[in-house]
């Protein structure tokens, strides 16, 4: 019989794996996608993965501090998004372009 207990007993590991998967997906997004906006979304994804792990740790360690931290992270993420989008907008206005492969003048 197939062992399915790991599907029923959701523990810390599951959250951490989820967080890791999300984090990795975010990283992969940063590494692979060309569109600046998508890149920023990937970073948001990474931050949210972190939030999951914070909350998970908070829950399993019985330490509410972790949940407080999530708020901090969300705030920062918002600020980051604001700055990022501002940059993206200003750049798009100037260059009509958000493909990051376009920005390779600085090198060597």
């Amino acid at each position: 019989m197939l062992e399915t207990s790991f599907l029923n007993n959701i523990g810390l590991e599951h959250y951490l794996v989820l967080s890791a998967v999300l984090f990795s997906l975010g990283m992969a997004g940063v590494l692979l996608r060309r569109n600046l906006i998508v890149l920023m979304m990937s970073i948001e994804l990474m931050l949210n993965a972190i939030n999951i792990s914070f909350v998970a740790f908070s829950k399993f360690n019985n330490n509410p501090e972790g949940q407080v931290m999530v708020f901090f992270v969300m705030t920062i993420a918002a600020a980051e998004a604001a700055v990022g989008l501002a940059l993206a907008v200003s750049i798009f206005k100037r260059f009509k372009e958000v493909n990051i492969r376009f920005f390779e003048h600085l090198k060597g």
Binding site: L31, I100, F103, K107
Partner: protein
Amino acid sequence: MNHQILIAILLLSPVVGFLLNGVRFKSANYVLAGSIATGAVFVSFICSVLLFLDLVSMPAENRRIAVEFFTWIAVDNLKINAGFVVDQISSIMILIITGVGTLIHLFSIGYMHHDKGVTKYFAYLNLFIFNMLILVLGDSLLTMFVGWEGVGLCSYLLIGFWFSDSAKAAAGMKAFITNRIGDAAFIIGMFILFMTFGTLNMHELNALAPTTIEASWLGAVTLATLMLFIGATGKSAQIPLYVWLPDAMAGPTPVSALIHAATMVTAGVYMIIRLNPLFIAAPNTMFVIATIGAATAVMAAIIGLTQYDIKKVLAYSTVSQLGYMFLAVGVGAFGAGMMHLMTHAFFKALMFLGSGSVIHGMHEEQDIRKMGGLKKYMPITHFTFLMGWLAIIGFPLFSGFFSKDEILWNAFSSPRGGELFWIAGVIGAILTAFYMTRLMALTFWGKSRLDSKVHPHESSLIMTIPLMILAILSVVGGFVGVPHVIGQYLGHIPNFWEQWLEPVIRAIPANEFVATHAADHEGLEWSLMGTSVALVMISALTAFYFYIIKPGTSEKVRKIFGPVYNFVNHKYFVDEFYFAAVINPIVKQSQNLWFYVDVHFIDKMTYWTADIVKGGGRVAKSFQTGNMQQYAMYIGVGIVVVLSFVLMR
């Protein structure tokens, strides 16, 4: 007078002359320059005579005037003073140097009067006299070495006196460098002696010299003396370092007379005589010296047969005669060597000056093929040259006879000698007689082969007076050391020479042979003497026949010996050999050395290092593509590597 002051004047008078002439070296006033220089040397000569007289007045066992001026070098146990010694040997040397020197200076006034650099010339000459005096008077080997190198320097300057001619400048350089090779060995010799005996003072060295014979070739004394002897071969133009002397004839002729005949070149012989106790303790060295001396005597004489340059003939003759002297000291006849040194100084200086007079009278012509019959143009020169000729071929009762005979007898009879040495000596004498007669014949006698434009004339008095004085010395100089066998028939003339030198010459340990059984071997000595004199006469007559009676004979003989003649005429191709085997390879390999080691190895290594760094830079640069995702990738890879290392290991 105080000895210290006397020696100071002796030494410094030429320095003053040098400085006086040196600072106004551009002047062409030959009278002033010549008077200053000659005067300076003459003052030294007076001092030498005074010192000699003082020495004579001293008791025989204490004949030694030693003075110290200041401490020159003092490091650890090495203490070298500016100290000078006048003793039996050096007193003779200073007399020769200043005496003959004065005459040659005098001669130079006439000889050089038309030269623009006359003042400079006299300055150099004075400097030479100074250095030569240091050489002979120095009380330690190192002080001697000062003069030893100093005379080399002066010789360099004087050989290259007419430096505008590349060949002459090169000759000077060759002389200096060849001498330096010897000097390097001399330095090593000094080191060995210093390490063995702890002193370089020659008086102390002689006292410390072992009285027993050192049989090993690798003994300290043997090695040291061998090294010193190599130094002597450089200075005194012996095989294998003789090559510079013939070239040294590039200098003015009086220089050849003074430096390359009378004084400097005999320094090696003088050094050996001065250190005779050391050399006696090393029979192996003595054997080498005698062999080299004999070989040089014969070899140089053979070259002398084929030369046409009047000075070259005399130069090879000098080499050959120096070989005689080394043969003498090599077989232990130090007295005879010293005596030959003196007589040779007289007659060879005479002949060189004579040749100078000829060259002067012939307007710088040196090729004897273009002379002949000069007798009638230059009677005084001819007559004095004749005296020199008789002396050098060893005509009985002329000075050269006594000294040469003494050498030959010792070569035969000395415990360090042998029949072969005697034979070599006799062959040398025969050859000498031949080429000297040839020289006389081609130059002064026979038919004139002069260029029609040349009008030879006798030289002025200032040049002929030195010739005459030297001629007298060449004739009578030998009587200071008449051998016992002859002396007893000439009204029992004692052998002053041997008596004079006796206290400073150590006897060869097994030397009773000659001393005690001399009478028994009187017959042998007479017969040997007779043989050699007879052979010499025959040789001289043959030469006379070749060049005067039947002038074409020499050509025929030369044809018979074709290739051999060529070989000899080119001095056995020794110069060429040295160039091909030593100098050129060194220069060539130096070029390679520089090219491959400096440029292609060391610098390349530096560049490689730089290239490696730059290559690293290029790699680092190539990672910097400008693509930010690639940068993120580095971070990702970095994370993976770091984590795997941190967590997995």
